[in-house]
């Protein structure tokens, strides 16, 4: 036990962990060139163990591509660093006033690492597109995709059943009490492309015959997942719907068929609907949504440029927040460095549509967002305190004839 404690509190361990962190960060940064920031975060930082492979794009890749370096991942290093920090602190420092600064610094750093874990666990990022003059009450995920079934029968509201795409394994059957039918996945591609069979003779057709798939000229093939432009992937799938009174056929679903991407020649077969037990259900594949209990309405989007140039000077979304439950209906300005914080979410001005006709807000949920602020404040205060105390001690020693100590 004592040996273990000595190990975990040693300075050598600190330096080793810091050095390993640097190696991890460097290799992860280099890998962002081929996997993009989001994927690298999962592979290197939000994991216990990471593996670095010699990138294909580097010279002599065919010789070196078998090089694989295993590394402790972000979670493992972060965890060990916290343990090391706390152990070392308790071992080397007594709770005396002149070490108060150091205690605060170490405490703040530990809190910072903890906030990293908290972010990894809690943080979720979404986006919200608003057309000028339009409104929205939902936020969409950048990466997750849902297969949705919507029952529009009720005149007052819709019934939406969302199945995450992780459930869409080929051959798997899905059933749910809310659905009077079962769903079987025939095929699912995380990224795909469409083609016209008339222009690609010999290419296979769709394994589907309903809705959009009635167009026999349409074909679908898988495409390798694009990690760098990871928001431009088009997931698609073929699903079979079986109701108790008979099958409803096989349907093509794709994010290409929802929202703004619809090719005009397919629009006539959309939305894709079928009827079971007198209810008409719509089926679609779309980005994962979270519905909010309020609306944001975009009044205007301002995109100021420096006169005579295309260089942006400022972006601003002038919106109204409309919450019928609380009766709120107030104007809100969202612009650079000035987000809207409401209902546990923070809305940031992120992007805009062509001709300034639409504004995109990035929406973040992170209940721990204040942790880094606290930790920075604590460390800052600790640094100032430590500097002050060291200065006082140094001045006292200068005035006395004894030799100065060399500790920090």
């Amino acid at each position: 036990m004592r040996l273990l404690f000595q190990f975990f509190s040693s300075l050598r361990l600190t330096v080793t962990l810091l050095a390993l962190s640097m190696v991890l960060i460097l290799l992860a940064t280099l890998d962002q060139g081929q996997w993009g920031v989001y994927e690298v975060q999962h592979r290197y930082f939000q994991t216990l163990l990471a593996f670095w492979h010699y990138p294909e794009q580097w010279p002599a890749a065919d010789i070196f591509d078998r090089i694989t370096i295993p590394l402790p991942g972000g979670f493992l290093l972060g965890g060990l660093l916290i343990i090391n920090l706390l152990c070392a602190h308790f071992r080397h420092y007594r709770a005396t006033w002149d070490k108060a600064g150091i205690t605060l610094i170490h405490g703040g750093l530990a809190l910072l690492i903890i906030s990293g874990f908290a972010t990894a666990y809690f943080q979720q990022e979404y986006y919200m597109w608003l057309n000028v003059g339009g409104r929205s009450n939902y936020i969409q995920s950048f990466h997750d995709v849902d297969l949705v079934f919507i029952d529009h029968t009720d005149p007052k509201e819709d019934l939406v059943v969302s199945i995450p795409s992780s459930r869409l394994q080929p051959g798997a059957t899905i059933s749910n009490p809310a659905l009077p039918f079962t769903v079987r996945t025939v095929q699912y591609y995380p990224n795909s492309q469409f083609y016209l069979r008339s222009q690609n003779p010999g290419a296979p057709g769709l394994d589907a015959d309903q809705g959009v798939a009635k167009n026999r000229d349409l074909g679908l093939s898988a495409k390798s997942y694009d990690y760098i432009n990871d928001t431009q992937n088009i997931p698609s799938g073929i699903i079979a719907i079986d109701a108790p009174d008979g099958p409803r056929g096989q349907w093509l679903v794709s994010t290409l068929l929802s929202g703004e991407l619809i090719p005009p020649f397919l629009a006539k077969d959309l939305p894709q609907t079928f009827t079971v037990k007198g209810h008409t259900w719509e089926v679609a594949l779309r980005p994962h949504r979270e519905y909010l209990p309020y609306y944001i309405h975009l009044d205007t989007f301002i995109h100021d440029k420096y006169p005579g140039t295309d260089v942006p000077r400022r972006f601003e979304s002038q919106t109204h927040l409309i919450n019928s439950a609380t009766g709120e209906d107030r104007p809100v300005l969202i612009y650079m460095n000035h987000p809207l914080r409401y209902g546990g979410l923070t809305f940031y001005q992120a992007s805009f549509g062509p001709n300034d006709s639409a504004s995109m807000l990035q929406v973040v949920r992170n209940p721990g967002w204040l942790l880094p602020y606290f930790s920075v404040a604590i460390v800052g205060f600790g640094l100032a305190l430590h500097f002050l105390l060291s200065l006082v001690r140094h001045l006292r020693e200068e005035s006395s004839p004894s030799a100065a100590s060399s500790s920090p």
Binding site: L11, L18, S21, M22, G308, P312, R313, R314, Y373
Partner: protein, 616 residues
Amino acid sequence: MKHLVSNILILFGLLLLVVGFLPPRATSAYDLAAYGRVPVQFGTRVLPLDSVARNTLRLFSSGTTLTAPSSTDFPDGLHMAAIQWFLELSLRPEVADRFPVFYVDHDELLGLLGEKIHPDPLFSFRDLQPHLDDIAKAAQLADDKKDAGAALNSFDSAVSTLRDNLMLYQRLCISFVPPGGQPVDDWKTWQDSLQPGSIAFTSQQAGRPFDEASLNAFLLQTKRYMQLSTAATVGLIPPLSGNTDTWMNLGEGALAALHSDHLSPVLLDYAGLGAALRHNDAAAFNTAVAALHQDLGPAATSSHIRFEAFINQVEPFFWGSLLYVFAFFCACLSWVTLGPDFRRGAFWMIVFGFALEAFGMFARVYLTGYGIVINLYSSALFVGWVAVLFGLVIELWKKNALGAAMASFIGFTTLAIAHHIPFTGDDLEMPRAVLATNFWLWTHVLCITSGYGAMFAAGFLALGYIIAGTFTARLNSCAAREIGRLVYGITCFATLFSFVGTMLGGIWADQSWGRFWGWDPKENGALLIVLWCAICLHARWGKLCSERTQMALAVFGNVVTTWSWYGTNLLGVGLHSYGFVQGTFVALTAFWATQFIFIALALLPRRYWRSQAALA
């Protein structure tokens, strides 16, 4: 006389300090200085023509004066100030077409022009005119590649840049006076046609009989000026009311006369300047320039404009870097000569250089209205300035030319780096939307760049330790410990600045993008610096390695800092993505190679060090 040599050196330094401030000799009968002080709106801001001239010449030719060897067109060679060349470009473009201003040194691009590589690859517009179509086609291919997301090779970038420069050139040619060489007459024709034309127009619209000839003439000219209003690229006429801050170009000014029934006197003044130039009438030119200043109103008398023209002339960074170069030689000489002369000379030269650099940086703050560091160029200036400050303090304290050598070396290299950063058209350009926030510019940005400066200061002092220890016998244990303590102290500062700066950056990112830390390359680079500082400090505190190894660690700090500052730009990834610059990659790798050599020297067994006896 005591200290004669050092006094001479100090006087020489003083001379270099003030020479930039002396008013220049007038080399021409034309009042070029007055023309240079004329304000226009170009790019992101209002600036004097002298700056437009220098920036454009620099964009085209990579230099701020036009120098060319003797040629058939110019048997005596060429040596013109930027404003002189710009005078011709703006008012007599057909003359300017003969001046060799386009710098082309890419061998494939030269091949497209039918030329081989030669030492002075400057081409005039006239030289390039027969090849405009080929350039346009090749540049279009490069554009298509970029739209498709493919990577561009060096030929693509070179030809795109040349095409962009040529388009800018042509637009500037028609931005000050209407094309054709008879601007005064052109404006008169326009003014004369305004009234009959608008009468004819209203009559036609009302279905009444109208004068067809007047109407046609009027419509045609309107079309001509509408075309000019989209092609012209410089705002000449300041806004009359406070509702807008957009200046009107000459096409817009011409069209504005439709409503106000009179043509802006600014346009007539420019035409008068053009006519005077064509008639070689310097007196008329000077009168017209004075009239132009008057007609521009408060915009022309703004202190910002006059100050910017003044700073252009002073060139503080040029004289500052000269001072640093001389100081470095003096510092090195002081180690082989007797007496404190060269060291004192070096110290004062650095002080003068430091003052000039500070003057230049704060002049930028005054002119832009934003923080000291707002772009990569200003970051290079500030990093150097911080390192020089550390060096000066050390020199004052230790008086052994070490601080002076470090300060002058870093000072000169950062100014040279700043000068060679790819030029984007205006060093004083306004910061973009999210950057235009003074609070973060003054806090986060300054902290991070101060951290860089401190890291370099420590790293170069350590380099001094290694060089002295390996190649000379003079590094005794006392000096070694002293340098070691200096390096440690500066590393503490670097840790503080880098850590605080990184944390502030996280807060800024949280305010802007919703996440404190996104693990993107720039953030990772900053974190690497903080981690490396932590390693250096902990290694020393825990006595985990020898002093020589600590110096090696400090030198590695140079590698980490340059990676964070420049290397991360090369990746083109994430929120902080920038353009790939091939030349930077080569320069970085070369620099890293030199640093690794020094690290290897530091880690050699002690018996190989010439100072090993002194260190024992």
